[in-house]
Amino acid sequence: MFNRVEEFVKDVRELASEDDLAEAIGAVTKDLGFRYFALAHHVDVRRSSSAIRIHNYPAGWAEWFDLQRLGAIDPVHRASNLTSVGFTWSKLPEMLALTPADRRVLDLARKEGIGEGFTVPAHVPGEAHGSCSFACATGERIAGEHLPLLQLVGAYAFEAARRMQRMRVSEAPIQLTDRQRECVMWAARGKSDWEIGQVLGVSEATVGEHLRHAYERYGVGKRTLVAVHALFDGTIGFLDVLRP
C-alpha cells in the first residue's frame, strides 16, 4: 500500500484547488479503508476567513459544529495540541480529562454516523495548530494496519492545503514589533501597564501605546485577547509566559 501513498504525495504537489485536494484526500481515505476525512486549522472558521477547512463529513454535522462554534474546543482538536504523532479517538480519555460537554460532542458525532477515528496533528511553528482526521462510519472496524500510511497522508494533505491557503491569502502574517511583542508577553504574564513600564524602563503611557498598536494589528480590544492571539499564532511562546 505504500505506493498508494507515494502516488498521493506526488499528485497533491500539482493540485491547485481545494476541490481537487478534497477529491484526492477523499479517494486515498477510501482506499485505506476509512469513510470520512476532515482537515482543519483549530480555529473558529466562521470568524477566521483564512483558516483551512476541508472535509467530507455529513452536511448536517458540519453545520451543527459551526453553530456551536466548536472549532477550537473540540476534544479531538484539543488532544491533538498535546501530541505530535497520530492517535485513535478511543485514546481520548487517556489524553484529556473529558468534560460532559466533550462526551456530548462525541456521542452526537456517533449518532451522525461518525465512528472511530484517527487524527494526525499538524504543528508548524509560528502558525495556528491544525490536524487531519480520518474516521470510519459508526460500527465499522478501524483499519489499524493502515495507520502509518494515514500518518503520511495526513501530513502531506495538510501541507498541500497550507500551500493553497498561502496562495489565496496574499497578506503577510500579522507581525508585531519587538517592543510590542515584549509588552504583550508581559501582559500575558498578568502585568499592568505600569509594571511592564518598570520592567522595560519606559513610561506607563508608552506601554499603553505599544499594546494599543498590538490590539489594532490583531483587530481586538482587550489585553487578554491580544495575549491569546499572540500565543495562538506563536508570536509569543507558552514557555516565555510560564517560565518563572
Partner: protein, 206 residues
C-alpha cells in the same frame, strides 16, 4: 556565521566543534533520550563522526555553536543503510550526488524566536551547500513529530517508506530533491536566508 567543516580529527579540540558535540549530547542524549555513545560524559560522538563526514555549522560572532547538521556520504555505510534499512520501501537514493543529513541540532541555549532563526539559517545553508557541491538529493531519518515542520519549509520532500516505531518515538525516511528552484520554494515560506561568506576549512584528518 556559517562554517563548513570537512572531515574530523578524533579529539574535538576547537571551540565551535567542541560546543557542537556538547550541544548534540544535550539535545540527542539528555532531551531526546537517544541511545548513542557519549565521550567523556560531555560529547555525543559516534562511528560516523569520521574523516568522511561534513559539518554545516551556524555559529555566533564569538564562534559559539548555534546549530549544525552532519552530512554523510551515501556510497559507504551511513545511518539509513546500516541502522534503519527497513525504513525504505525500495533501495534509497545513494551515490556521489546524494548525502544523508544526520544530527540536525539546534542549541538549547536559544529562545524560541532565536531557534527559528538559526533553523532557517541552517536549512538555507544546507541548500546552499548542496547547490555549491553538486548534491541533488539529501536523504535522512526523521522523527515523525518533525515531519510537518520539514514539509512546511516548502522544498520537494518525499517519504521513502512507512514510519515505524522505535524506542525513542516514530521515525521515517525522507528524500529531499535540491534544484536551482529550491531557494525560491524556501523563500515563499519565509525560510530562505541568503548565505554570505562561509568560512570553509580544509580536511583536518589525514
Amino acid at each position: 556565521m556559517l562554517r563548513v567543516e570537512s572531515g574530523f580529527s578524533a579529539s574535538p579540540r576547537e571551540r565551535t566543534l567542541r560546543a557542537m558535540f556538547e550541544d548534540r549530547k544535550s539535545v540527542f542524549v539528555d532531551l531526546l533520550k537517544w541511545d548513542v555513545p557519549v565521550l567523556d560524559g560531555r560529547f555525543e560522538l559516534d562511528q560516523f563522526d569520521n574523516e568522511a563526514a561534513t559539518y554545516i555549522i551556524i555559529a555566533d560572532e564569538a564562534g559559539d555553536h548555534l546549530g549544525s547538521a552532519r552530512l554523510l556520504p551515501t556510497d559507504r555505510p551511513h545511518i539509513l543503510s546500516s541502522l534503519f534499512p527497513d525504513l525504505c520501501a525500495s533501495p534509497p537514493p545513494a551515490g556521489p550526488g546524494v548525502l544523508e543529513i544526520t544530527r540536525f541540532c539546534l542549541s538549547r541555549r536559544q529562545k524560541a524566536a532565536e531557534r527559528l532563526k538559526t533553523r532557517n539559517e541552517l536549512v538555507s545553508a544546507l541548500v546552499w551547500y548542496a547547490l555549491d557541491a553538486g548534491i541533488r538529493t539529501y536523504t535522512g531519518v526523521a522523527e515523525t513529530a518533525w515531519l510537518q515542520q520539514i514539509l512546511a519549509f516548502g522544498w520537494d520532500c518525499r517519504p521513502l517508506g512507512l514510519p515505524m516505531r522505535c524506542e525513542c518515538g516514530t521515525i521515517g525516511a525522507l528524500a529531499i530533491e535540491i534544484t536551482g528552484g529550491t531557494p525560491a520554494l524556501l523563500a515563499a515560506n519565509h525560510i530562505w536566508q541568503p548565505v554570505r561568506d562561509p568560512a570553509t576549512r580544509v580536511p583536518q584528518a589525514a
